[in-house]
């Protein structure tokens, strides 16, 4: 198929052509991370597919197919679904606030009878799509500095506050930063950006004293001085650092990480999978995985920048921002650079919900790439 052939009307809507337009390099890198995750889960279970590695691989296969399926969904459908999805997410968050199920002191789950659901996960996508759609309809000036910016600001603030109240500081920050990243990418005035940064520097200490829960404050304390209580709150960070550090340049070998094999590493299959990898494969292995994450982020942002429609650009950038935040927050957390906030390493950690969210996000990014030449009008009702 030649380049000229693809510009033929209707040609781009053919299934084989669409499949060809999927970024297979990106899909391959994603599969690499998913596979590495399965491999590490096999190791931490003591060389066993049960209980995690097998599940992880099956789930990953399933969501990989979901990603490919979503890649073929017309970008206009995404556009149409943006506000409804956001609205559903918001309603569910309110429902959680009212009737949610409390587990381990946090009200995050909604019991649907057959399964339980974390509405905050829906909101991670909802906020990206809704903001992208709003900015798609906004002018450059409106995006820069305009009273109408109160709308995206509220779109971000309401779910952030609801999620923070659950309390789920990690997800709440993730939604906040994702939203802010989209506002920034959409063209928010530099003056506002710099003022905002200055404001955070002032507000953050006040947050620490007046807004955070005790356990959250303890996590920050631990971050600032992890050696103060190595067997108590600092245990997670201390053990993760020992795992990473003792891995050295080349690692202890697959299945030989004593820190994780002997259970010194808590949550070794979820939030703290990365230290296990660093322990068993050393600096080279861990840096290789970080490089792949970097490549995924770079490719995703390039896809965003190549889209011909503003909605696609912002949606892809927003999803990438969420993904990058996952990686950075988890990485900083396990290396003792950020407080322990319960954010997994995407695709590497065990856990179906986050994997589904992230892969739906990549489905959206792939869809943006597949439909990058589509010009979306600014008006509503595109379909």
């Amino acid at each position: 198929m030649t380049a000229s052939a693809i510009s033929r009307p209707g040609e781009r809507d053919r299934l084989p052509v669409k499949l060809g337009q999927i970024d297979w390099r990106l899909a391959g890198l994603i599969a690499l991370i998913g596979g590495a995750g399965a491999m590490m889960l096999y190791s931490v279970a003591g060389e066993s597919w049960a209980p995690w590695a097998g599940n992880h691989l099956i789930r990953f296969g399933a969501v990989f197919v979901v990603m490919l399926g979503l890649a073929l969904v017309d970008i206009r459908w995404w556009y149409a679904a943006a506000y409804p999805l956001y609205a559903v997410g918001l309603l569910l968050l309110i429902a959680v606030e009212l009737f949610g199920e409390t587990r381990m002191g946090a009200t995050r789950w909604l019991d649907l009878g057959f399964t339980s659901l974390q509405p905050s996960e829906i909101m991670k996508l909802g906020i990206v799509l809704a903001l992208a759609r709003w900015y798609h309809g906004a002018s450059a000036q409106e995006a820069k500095w305009h009273w109408k910016l109160i709308i995206p600001a509220l779109m971000i603030a309401v779910p952030v506050v609801l999620v923070a109240h659950q309390p789920d500081l990690g997800t709440s920050l993730l939604i906040l930063f994702t939203g802010v990243a989209i506002m920034f990418a959409a063209g928010l005035s530099w003056r506002i950006v710099l003022t905002g940064i200055a404001g955070i520097m002032v507000v953050a200490p006040m947050m620490y004293f007046f807004v955070l829960h005790d356990y959250q404050r303890a996590r920050v304390d631990v971050l600032l001085n992890p050696e103060a209580d190595p067997s108590g709150a600092g245990y997670h960070i201390a053990q993760a650092k020992i795992a990473i550090g003792s891995g050295g340049l080349l690692g202890k070998g697959y299945g030989l990480g004593s820190q994780s094999q002997l259970n010194f590493l808590p949550e070794k299959h979820t939030d703290f999978i990365f230290p296990t990898l660093a322990e068993e494969f050393g600096f080279l292995g861990a840096f290789f995985i970080l490089a792949i994450y970097g490549a995924i982020i770079a490719i995703s942002l390039r896809i965003a920048s190549l889209s011909h429609n503003h909605f696609g650009r912002l949606a892809a950038a927003g999803v990438t921002a969420t993904f990058a935040l996952y990686v950075l927050i988890n990485g900083a957390m396990v290396m003792g650079l950020a407080p322990v906030v319960g954010v997994p390493m995407p695709l590497l950690s065990y856990g179906g919900t986050v994997m589904l969210t992230v892969m739906i996000g990549f489905g959206l990014i792939q869809s943006v790439r597949v439909h990058r030449y589509l010009e979306l009008p600014k008006s509503r009702g595109v379909i």
Binding site: G245, G247, G248, N263, F283, V327
Partner: protein, 638 residues
């Protein structure tokens, strides 16, 4: 945007341009963030690798101290006096049990009686150092042990182990001399600190015991051995996953200690004392080996090993016959008439003639009347010893004054402590003029002539212990050497040999006079005749009886009846056989209330019989046909 701009963007292009710049910036930020993570990774894994690697090892391996088996203590013939026996026990490790209460609940279901001691267990568990198992119950029966072992893997932090526990097979027989071991107390820790050392880690191991009395205490360091380490690989819950043999060190058992004691003589000693209170020391008067050293009544040292119940301890401590005191070295008594040969020797050394006759009229007058034990008539030194005539020795003592007596007394072993590896010895007191000068005020610094008669009969200020008495008889029996006592024959491979003894420094003829007197004591008409006959062929003992006044007599009973604590002490010293002295013995019966001959002599005789019958040479003599020249027809005490 700007009208002056040379290129006019339409709005879409302006949004796209801004987006591209901003996205590029965001991407840069994200990749910088990843770069920071990579740098941090390099810092942790390359620069600080060594530190974290050792932290991982420390996490992973756990050095468990192992108490070394304590050295055995045996008697001269290899009979075990103190050993170790296996004991099944259940312990709890604090840092491994997540929930001590729940764990104890489960243990209580298997071993119901632990519920009663729960408080104490919790206190001990909380006091123990990290990763050290604290026994919840020791000495489990096999059935109990099997029951616990079945569930032990499901109870994190609970261990079912076979330990070694100190064991004294003879119970109270050696309780004072050999001593006992007990849990390390704060005082033990302080004692080590006072010597400027840090208490060893093994002190805090609940299975470790420290020597508390007797040989167990004085040779504690040798008996302790060297603790071992078992380096085990543990997981975060403390469950053992494996052992690192290279990092482990086997415990070195403590040195075996061989004593000079004879278990049979020792047991016989405790038997003959029955309920009575006192001490006995028997020695080989040629080598100085202590063959028997007992204090009665005694206690069961096995109870100290796991902790004496306070009710029992109180009973021991409150009993007036004081079972906890080692009366052989830790109690001092007036030697009474057993001291008279000292006075005789002092007189002879000053040129006194042992054949000089002093007439006893039943009392000695110096300001007041000092009563004699009878009305003995004319007495020479030999007969004065035989009849235990007070008048004779009072006369000599007043003539000489205290200093010559004190000199001989010291030379004979009184007023000193012997380095036999036994603590708690009391020196006693050998009074003389210098002592009075140093310890009294004003007028009383003088030695009054009226104090000498008491000195002459072994009373007054004079105080001796049973070991000193035994050394004294040994030197009398030996006659030529200053025999020194020995209790510890060897520690491990090292023999604790005695050097050659110093000469006693007296003409043997003079010693012979005393010996002849003592032979008459146990012969027909002597004060010890009735109860000192061995009944072993022609073998005889020589001895000297003694009765020491505990207080001034105010009642008509004269120390023979009434309150136990007011009665006289009865003493007997002896050696034998008289033709070839080998064994010497001293015995003190506290508040026996009668005479040395009646109360102390029969006990001494029994112990001496045991020693003689265990001596192969003497036993051969007993079994041999009677020698042709029997001076004395063997008579058995009625």
């Amino acid at each position: 945007m700007s009208d002056r701009s040379p290129i006019q963007f339409n709005e879409v292009n302006e949004r796209q341009g801004s987006f591209l710049r901003r996205t590029f910036l965001l991407g840069g930020v994200a990749l910088t963030g990843l770069g920071v993570l990579g740098a941090r990774l390099a810092h942790l894994q390359i620069i600080d690798q060594r530190r974290y690697a050792s932290a991982a090892v420390a996490n992973r391996f756990n050095d468990r101290l192992q108490v070394a088996p304590r050295g055995l203590i045996t008697d001269r013939n290899g009979v075990m006096i103190a050993g170790n026996r296996p004991s099944f026990s259940v312990s709890v490790v604090r840092d491994v049990t997540q929930d001590l209460d729940a764990t104890l609940d489960l243990i209580a279901r298997l071993l119901p009686e632990t519920a009663e001691r729960r408080r104490r267990i919790i206190r001990e568990v909380n006091a123990a150092p990290r990763f050290v198992p604290v026994p919840v119950k020791t000495d489990l029966t096999w059935e109990e042990f099997a029951r616990v072992s079945l569930f032990v893997n499901e109870l994190p932090g609970v261990l079912a182990t076979m330990d070694e526990v100190r064991f004294y097979p003879f119970g109270g027989s050696f309780a004072h001399t050999v001593g006992y071991v007990a849990k390390v107390s704060d005082r033990d820790v302080e004692a080590v600190r006072e010597e400027g050392e840090e208490p060893p880690a093994i002190f805090y191991h609940p299975g470790f015991r420290i020597g508390r009395q007797g040989v167990e205490r004085s040779l504690d360091k040798e008996l302790r051995g060297r603790p071992g380490y078992q380096r085990v690989e543990v997981d975060a819950e403390g469950r053992v996953r494996g052992e690192d043999a290279d990092g482990s060190r086997a415990a070195t058992p403590g040195a075996e200690v061989v004593l000079t004691l004879d278990a049979d003589a020792q047991n016989r000693a405790l038997e003959v004392f029955e309920e009575e209170s006192g001490a006995v020391v028997a020695m080989d008067c040629r080598t100085g080996d202590i063959l028997c050293m007992a204090s009665a009544p005694s206690f069961d040292p096995n109870l100290f090993v796991s902790g004496v119940p306070s009710v029992i301890y109180r009973a021991w401590a409150d009993y007036e016959r004081n079972p906890l005191l080692d009366k052989a070295v830790g109690g001092t008594y007036a030697p009474g008439s057993t001291f008279k040969p000292v006075v005789g020797m002092a007189n002879m050394l000053r040129g006194g003639d042992p054949n000089r006759i002093i007439v006893c009229n039943g009392g000695y007058y110096l300001g007041r009347r000092f009563a004699c034990t009878g009305r003995h008539g004319p007495q020479d030194m030999r007969n004065a010893i035989k009849n235990s005539c007070n008048v004779y020795f009072m006369t000599l003592a007043v003539e000489m004054g205290p200093d010559p007596i004190a000199e001989v007394a010291r030379n004979m072993g009184f007023g000193q402590i012997f380095e036999i590896g036994l603590g708690g010895q009391r020196r006693g007191l050998v009074p003389d003029r210098a002592w009075k000068r140093e310890n009294f005020q004003g007028e009383n610094q003088r030695w009054f002539a009226g104090e000498s008669p008491s000195y002459g009969i072994g009373q007054g200020y004079l105080e001796v212990n049973a070991l000193q008495l035994a050394v004294y008889v040994s030197r009398l029996a030996n006659g030529r050497q200053k025999v020194m006592p020995r209790l510890v024959r060897s520690v491990g491979e090292a023999e604790r040999a005695q050097g050659a003894f110093e000469p006693l420094g007296y003409d043997f003829d003079k010693v012979r006079v005393l010996q002849e007197g003592m032979e008459m004591v146990t012969d027909a008409g002597g004060t010890g005749f009735r109860n000192s006959q061995l009944g072993l062929g022609n073998m005889r003992l020589a001895g000297k009886t003694g009765t020491a006044q505990v207080r001034n007599y105010t009642t008509a009973s004269r120390g023979r009846g009434g309150n136990w604590a007011d009665r006289d002490h009865n003493l007997f010293i002896a050696y034998g056989p008289i033709d070839d002295p080998r064994y010497a013995i001293s015995i003190v019966v506290q508040h026996g209330g009668r005479s040395g001959g009646a109360i102390a002599a029969p006990k001494a005789r029994e112990i001496m019989r045991t020693l003689i019958l265990k001596d192969p040479e003497l036993l051969a003599r007993v079994n041999a046909p009677p020698v042709p020249e029997p001076d004395v027809a063997p008579e058995v005490a009625p």
